[in-house]
Amino acid sequence: MTDRAETEAKVMALIEPFNKKGVEVTEATRFAQDLEWDSLTVLDFVANIEDEFDIIITMNQQAEIETVGQLVDAVGKLRG
């Protein structure tokens, strides 16, 4: 597995417990529109992502992230 594929697999696994509607998740899935997450769900999810990868995703950075693919890219960048 490439680094990106590995990151993506971990991100997908962390999305699952919050995927209450059982939406089929792809890189194009949007957090707000498709998964319909509210701000508290986002906080919990982001905290899990941050803990998993030992990074910080600031609210400034979060505002630029719309899809699962964009999050995977951001995580890759933040891990350096």
Partner: protein, 418 residues
């Protein structure tokens, strides 16, 4: 209330709406309100007080109403000394300053209220803003610059989020009152980066307090500066009424305390106190301080008088605690779900099952002759609808009994309790 977190969905106008303009983004809210009010419900956000009898009683819709949602914790609004000071200043200095604090808007009264704050908090510096909202807006946006980090509790007040939005620092939220989450985030940030941690003593929605002792220690270990908003604890919590940081023994490690005159002090205005040797420079660089008119002379005179009286308010503080404990225990016994297991402040939040029943209960209480705050998302955490009660040191024990009777009657009438 948090605003941005993983880009929110854009609002699209609902189908069938013919006119689209800049107001279209509010259509969903307009519809929710119309639905709620079409049931004949009194607008919970449109109450008018026709007469104010005392800190605890007003006339609303021609009816005598007990006030249990005013933040007038220490009941100073009708204190004779406070009123006299205001009238005297109005006579001697006029109705307003018509100017900024840094130009023609600083009178002796502004210096006097800052002196009163320095004495009250036993701190070196005090800076008075025109509102508490502007105090947070100004200090937060000015202190944290582009490459600095603001680490804040997710349940922070709107004025804290707006201070973040006005500045351009990096914003890192952490889960409400979670010491471990705060520590983890601080440790992940670049060690050399400037860090400002923003906390509140009392969180006003549920009335819970922060574990400041542990949190401030974690912040100091990470080399972060700490700002604590003590808006809802001033005058009441801590030996001298300085707030939760005082009660938990960490006030000396707090870099900035933010407060307001519109709660325990009983008028309007905001402030920041600090011991930092460079603090005074903020008067020149803090835009929400510079680019607005200063408080009217009568307001600063009432505030200074009230603050000095609050220094000797132990008997009132004790009675307020009794009221808080009595209301909390009584509501719990009636079967209501409350925001905290034990009373932690002068705010008792009653959790409603949903907005409809919350609004119905709010109206039933008003008909009984009781005013409380109806709080709803996005002001509330976790999408909750709350009936928020804030007690006053001037509520008599008999009034608290009366209040409990009203909650029982309204709760049964609306099916909120059995």
């Amino acid at each position: 209330m948090s605003t941005s977190a993983l880009r929110p969905a854009a609002t699209e106008p609902p189908e069938g709406s013919s006119e689209t303009d800049l107001f279209s983004k509010f259509d969903a809210l307009i519809e929710t309100r119309e639905q709620l009010l079409s049931t004949g419900l009194t607008d919970p956000f449109g109450l008018v007080m026709e007469e104010v009898v005392s800190p605890t009683v007003a006339i609303c819709n021609g009816r005598k109403t007990i006030l249990l949602g005013t933040y007038n914790y220490m009941g100073m609004t009708f204190d004779p000394d406070v009123i006299a000071a205001g009238k005297k200043a109005l006579d001697e200095f006029g109705s307003g300053t018509t100017g900024s604090r840094v130009l023609n808007g600083t009178y002796v009264g502004h210096k006097a209220v800052e002196d009163a704050l320095k004495d009250f908090y036993a701190m070196d510096h005090a800076m008075v803003f025109s509102t508490g909202y502007q105090a947070n807006l100004g200090i937060i946006s000015t202190m944290a610059g582009k490459d600095d980090y603001i680490i804040l509790d997710i349940d922070s007040h709107a004025s804290i989020y707006d201070g973040c939005a006005l500045g351009n620092a990096q914003i890192v939220p952490f889960r409400h009152n979670d010491i471990d989450a705060l520590e983890k985030r601080l440790k992940r940030l670049p060690p050399e980066a400037g860090k400002l941690v923003v906390l509140e003593g009392v969180y006003s929605m549920l009335g819970d307090i922060a574990p400041l002792k542990e949190m401030v220690a974690v912040c100091k270990a990470a080399g972060a500066m700490v700002l604590v908003d003590e808006a809802h604890s001033m005058g009441f919590i801590g030996e001298h009424g300085r707030g939760v940081a005082e009660a938990q023994g960490v006030i000396d490690d707090v870099d900035f305390i933010i407060g307001t005159f519109s709660k325990s002090v009983g008028t309007v205005g905001g402030f920041c106190v600090s011991n930092h040797p460079k603090f005074e420079i903020l008067r020149l660089v803090c835009r929400p301080y510079v680019f607005t008119a200063s408080l009217p002379p009568s307001v600063v005179a009432t505030a200074a008088t009230s603050i000095r009286k609050l220094m000797h308010g132990k008997a009132k503080r004790d009675h307020l605690w009794e009221n808080s404990k009595k209301l909390h225990a009584g509501l719990k016994a009636l079967g209501f779900t409350l925001g905290t297991d034990e009373p932690q402040s002068a705010i008792i939040a009653v959790i409603m099952p949903d907005l409809e029943r919350g609004a119905a209960m709010w109206e039933a209480l008003l008909h009984e002759g009781l005013y409380v705050n109806l709080a709803r998302p996005p002001a509330t955490p976790a999408g909750m609808t709350l009936l928020r009660c804030s007690l006053c040191a001037e509520h008599s024990s008999e009034q608290v009994d009366e209040i409990l009777g009203m909650f029982e009657a309204a709760g049964r009438a609306t099916g909120c309790i059995n």
